[in-house]
């Protein structure tokens, strides 16, 4: 039988009576013509020749701007471009021009992952080869062999690395990199939008250290950054690097026609407003495309969800495609596996991939035709990144957003305009988070002693240096603070994960071939790798047999069961200090320091097909303590008096549920990074309170942003509850299950109205 084309399948979506009904909105983005300008006269003729050899006869407008501003005028630039828009030329042109003009000139490229660095090395080296010039460009990462390291340090014109390597290998050994640091002309930071939250706050401090070392050797490099679309690219670049930037947003790359389809699964219970699960719908839709040999990417929000969809899809289309042509992709897979999957997607050997947001990054996987999102990815920026995976250049492509039951998903499906017209969110970092700052000051002191009166890129640090002296880490002598400890500070500091050490996952199914299959941060491990947890990896189920918490090792064994596990985290909160407070007659909002004690308590076994609870068990892990920032909202007696006890409890829990979904969207973070906890009687005030706290020790500015934007959040929460078509509250607005009582929606609305009155 002939395979159907994408056009025919799009037609099928439009016309099939059953399917048609589920489509809430169909948005078509027209194709866009390229906007180009001819080569700037100052562009080196050797570069022009190489471009012409590749069939390029002009520059896209954003490439030309980057060359003009960073290449000629030596200004810091941040270019905002979608995927596959030729952004590499935006930095390769100024950098190569500077090296052609002066062979001593050096550049440092930072990519968030090793894979991206590898991609770029091949790209720039092909270009250099085309020019026939003796310019050396290398990647420098954990895989670089010791034999070539010395050559890279001395003679690498372009050194391509990642922030982790800069942090642990380059900066602490800067004396071996003199020729790089003395001649550092450009620092390129690609995928700037990925440097947010904890990771971004760490990287900002690594860059402070980098600038400090560069200045020490007498260089003052220009920054060239590129970013996917976010609301505040310029602000992010400036906070991350401590420099002022010019924004380049005149993207001139062409784009094919895109269909953006909002798909809502059919109702199965009208009164309760319960719909079929998004996962099931995605399974069916994806297999429909895959069977016709249409390359498809499916995004899901959690690792567990990825594995569930993957195993279903592999089963569904196994006969047609063979099991290996659909793969999973997420953090926790080992690099080798990932490279293999990326390559398979490019060559077309792999027909489908199910991924977490790990594939949002610019990893080169070629052009896919269809992108399916299982639920709202959580932010406008992320959504566009994921959508960009389909039809990257000229072809027509299809993006299907399949809504889940969560309030946010349903809100998006009811208000497609909200999404389509909304500007993407801001990316936030807090380089001055005390814990992160102190960690990097230690590294910086190891690299070079601090002088009295010296600031850390503008930050006053005298008190911290004194503290570290008292802790016997630094030694204050003469007018300097010296590193005086026998450790290597960068080794104890991980840029990526909140907790310092990850838990390693060890497969001991085959006793003769025990192997490490992945790793996970400590906090997640509490709820995902406790004993008897079902851990999914590449579609294979494993049961955790033992979790050695001291040694950070989880031993797993392959199993075949019909359920997955879901663990509860019990949380206790103490307010340590109230820094800011805003009071209205109906509620109080405050921001300050809190101590969180979290303990994994029990887990449930949930049947995969029906999602029913089929068993449970207890978890025995030590309590984890977290000192962080929180924003909290409490309600005085005069408000609670307006409700019965039960009603108020419903209102509080329901409102917290709405906030849990709305708040992360507005501060642009993962739902796991900002926890929301309602308490009927908070320990510090005895008043009903909802806490929103940063999951990272010391906070990274999320709770602080929530505090500043409380009125806006209130408004969004109200809109969300109001627009939900249910009658009395449903999983899509005020609660996850039906046990909340029939008045929860009414109670939440009433509470919000009280809050708005003043």
């Amino acid at each position: 039988m002939r395979k159907q084309t994408l056009d025919e399948l799009i037609e099928w979506l439009r016309t099939d009576p059953d399917v048609k009904e589920r489509i809430a909105h169909w948005h078509t983005l027209p194709a866009q013509e390229a906007k180009t300008v001819s080569f700037p006269s100052s562009l080196d003729s050797r570069i022009i020749n190489a471009l012409e050899k590749r069939g390029i006869s002009s520059l896209y407008t954003h490439q030309a701007s980057a060359f003009e501003q960073s290449g000629i005028r030596k200004e810091n630039t941040i270019a905002v471009t979608p995927t596959a828009s030729g952004k590499t030329l935006a930095y390769n042109l100024p950098v190569l021009q500077s090296i052609l003009a002066d062979k001593n000139s050096r550049a440092l490229y930072l990519f968030p992952t090793k894979a991206l660095a590898q991609d770029q090395k091949s790209e720039i080296n092909e270009f250099i080869e085309e020019m026939g010039e003796d310019i050396k460009s290398f990647t420098y990462d954990g895989d670089t062999s010791p034999a070539v390291r010395q050559a890279i340090r001395k003679a690498g014109h372009v050194v391509i690395t990642n922030p982790d390597m800069l942090h642990t290998a380059i900066l602490p050994h800067h004396t071996k990199w003199i020729s790089l640091f003395e001649n550092l002309t450009y620092i390129v930071i690609d995928e700037l939008h990925t440097y947010r939250g904890v990771f971004g706050s760490h990287v900002a401090n690594v860059i402070r250290r980098l600038k400090r070392i560069a200045h020490y050797y007498g260089s003052n490099p220009v920054f060239i950054c590129t970013s996917a679309t976010i609301a505040n690219p310029k602000e992010l670049a400036e906070t991350l690097t401590g420099e002022t930037f010019q924004l380049i947003d005149n993207n001139g790359a062409p784009r094919g026609r895109k269909h953006f389809v909002f798909y809502n699964p059919p109702l199965v219970h009208e009164a309760l407003n319960i719909r079929r699960g998004a996962t099931k719908e995605v399974n069916e839709l994806a297999s429909h495309f895959l069977k016709e040999n249409i390359q498809t990417i499916v995004f899901a929000k959690s690792r567990v969800r990825v594995e569930i969809i993957l195993s279903h899809l592999q089963e569904l289309v196994q006969k047609e495609l063979g099991p290996k042509t659909i793969r999973g992709y997420r953090g926790g897979y080992l690099p080798k596996q990932r490279r293999e999957i990326e390559k398979g997607l490019r060559t077309g050997e792999i027909m489908g991939v199910v991924s977490t947001n790990a594939l949002e990054l610019g990893v080169d996987i070629g052009q896919l035709q269809v992108c399916i999102m299982t639920g709202y990815p959580g932010s406008v920026a992320s959504t566009w990144q994921q959508a960009g995976r389909a039809g990257r250049r000229q072809d027509e492509s299809l993006i299907l957003f399949v809504a889940g039951a969560s309030p946010l998903d349903q809100y998006m499906i009811q208000h497609p305009d909200y999404f389509l017209e909304q500007s993407p969110e801001s990316a936030r970092i807090d380089p001055d988070n005390l814990i992160i700052l102190v960690d990097h000051l230690k590294c910086a002191a190891f690299e070079l002693p601090f002088h009295e009166g010296e600031q850390f890129d503008g930050v006053e640090i005298h008190d911290i240096l004194d503290f570290l002296t008292e802790e016997h880490v630094l030694h204050h002598r003469g007018r300097k603070w010296y590193w005086m400890n026998d450790t290597f500070p960068a080794h104890g500091i991980s840029l990526r994960s909140a907790s310092q050490e990850n838990v390693v996952i060890i497969d001991q199914t085959d006793i003769s071939r025990i192997k490490v299959i992945g790793e996970m941060d400590r906090f997640s491990a509490m709820t995902l790798l406790h004993e008897k947890a079902i851990y999914l990896h590449e579609g294979i189920q494993y049961q955790v047999e033992t979790l050695d918490w001291e040694e950070r090792k989880a031993f797993v064994q392959e199993v075949q069961v019909e359920y997955f596990t879901d663990a509860n985290l019990a949380v206790e909160l103490k307010v340590l200090e109230e820094d800011k407070v805003t009071e209205t007659p109906a509620f109080l909002t405050a921001f300050g320091d809190v101590m969180v004690n979290a303990k994994a308590t029990i887990f449930k076994k949930i049947k995969m097909t029906t999602f029913e609870n089929i068993g449970s068990g207890s978890i025995h892990l030590p309590e984890e303590e977290l000192h962080t920032n929180a924003c909290w909202i409490s309600f005085p007696k005069r408000v609670t008096d307006q409700f019965t006890r039960d009603q108020f409890e419903q209102a509080l829990i329901g409102f917290a549920h709405v906030l849990r979904h709305v708040a992360p969207v507005h501060v642009m973070c993962d739902r796991n990074d900002l926890h929301v906890v309602p308490q009927i009687k908070a320990a510090h005030s005895e008043e009903p309170t909802i806490f929103l706290y940063d999951r990272y020790p010391g906070g990274i500015g999320l709770a602080s942003a929530v505090y500043k934007e409380t009125p806006l959040l209130l408004q969004k929460a109200k809109q969300l509850v109001q627009s939900c078509p249910c009658l009395a509250g449903c999983p899509s607005c005020t609660g996850e299950d039906g046990n909340l009582g029939e008045e929860s929606k009414w109670a939440v609305m009433r509470l919000i109205r009280f809050m708005e009155e003043e």
């Binding site: 008292e470 030694h475 590193w483 450790t487 000192h627 010391g698």
Partner: protein, 414 residues
Amino acid sequence: MNIKQKLTRMKSHLSTPNSQTVAPLQPPPVTEKQTVPYKDAWDALSASIHFLDDAYMIKREVAYPLDYQHGNHTFQELYDVCSRWENETANHPLHSCGRRPEDFLFFDTETTGLNSGTGNMIFLLGGAQFTGENVKVSQYFLPGPEAEVALYYHFLSDTPPTHSLVSYNGKSFDWPQLKTRHTLVREEVPKLPAFGHYDLLHAARRLFRNRLSSCILSVVEKEILGITRKDDTPGYLAPMLYFDFLQDPHPDFVKGVLTHNEWDVLTLITLYIDLSKRVLQPTANDAEMFEIGKWYAHVKEWEKAEWCYEKVTVTTTCKELRLNSHFLLGHVLKKQQRIPEAQIHFQAAATEGSAHRYGAIIELAKYQEHQLKDFEKALSYSLTAQRLARDAKSRLESEKRVTRLQKKLPGNAN
């Protein structure tokens, strides 16, 4: 909450290394040219103060007579060793190459950390050298991190650039670390000369690896050199003691470290003498002779290597050692284009029970195929080799050989 309070509260999240329990005494300020704290105590250690601008460093000097016996050797034996190297025409990594005993600097450092990296400071540079009249140990001590310029200035001004360093693991640790710290003060001190460098760790590993549980210097001292230390301060305590010293700059804190370092550099003299003698006049056991042979082979001194292996094949009673020597001897002869001679030894190494049986048989097959053109014999060897192949690489190699030979044989079309 002020920053310090906050930090104290968050201490558990901060990965501060083990806090020490020493009482934090305020160190006396040393910014101006002034009295040196505990100067009398330094005098008692035969140490003197050397200023450079406002900062000072401390230099300690101790002399030993030439006939001083440190372990199994006296220092003056170095004169004999050097002249014997002069009569040795073959190249060897330990060869003194015209250097007199006065041209060596037996060298070791103590640092504030055990890792490499910029922040790991060298606080003691120790060297022993022959003056003609005696052996002088000079130690350059850093009284505080602000005095590095003075430290390197005096060390480099005192040390002739023509000297060669003799160290233990200095090629991968002490020297790179010295280069790193020197880089930070390079504008203010003399250039770092390109010293010659003998790293005795490599040498000790070659000769003693099979005999000792570990080749760390203290084990070599005890098991090989006949040196026993009394009340030694172990090296890993050096950083801690130095940090204590910085809190209260009394030399008592680091006295033990100075002695430890002094012993280390003296031991390097004994070790160089000992190793040289073993190589110059191999009299010891066959196993060592075998290793010396391998060492010569490593530097392509084929005749020397041949001599060692040959000797082992004749004298040893250990079958394993004999077979291994035959095999390596075969290779050494092959290198000298003495191919037919080599066959005798490959033949010997190809017997049952030889660790190199596979390799030896392949050599025999090569000889039959390429020299004698006896493809039948070559095939028969190759088939045996194929049976013996244990790893993927040799399986592939032997299979290729078999296939090729089968094609070469008339009447064997496949």
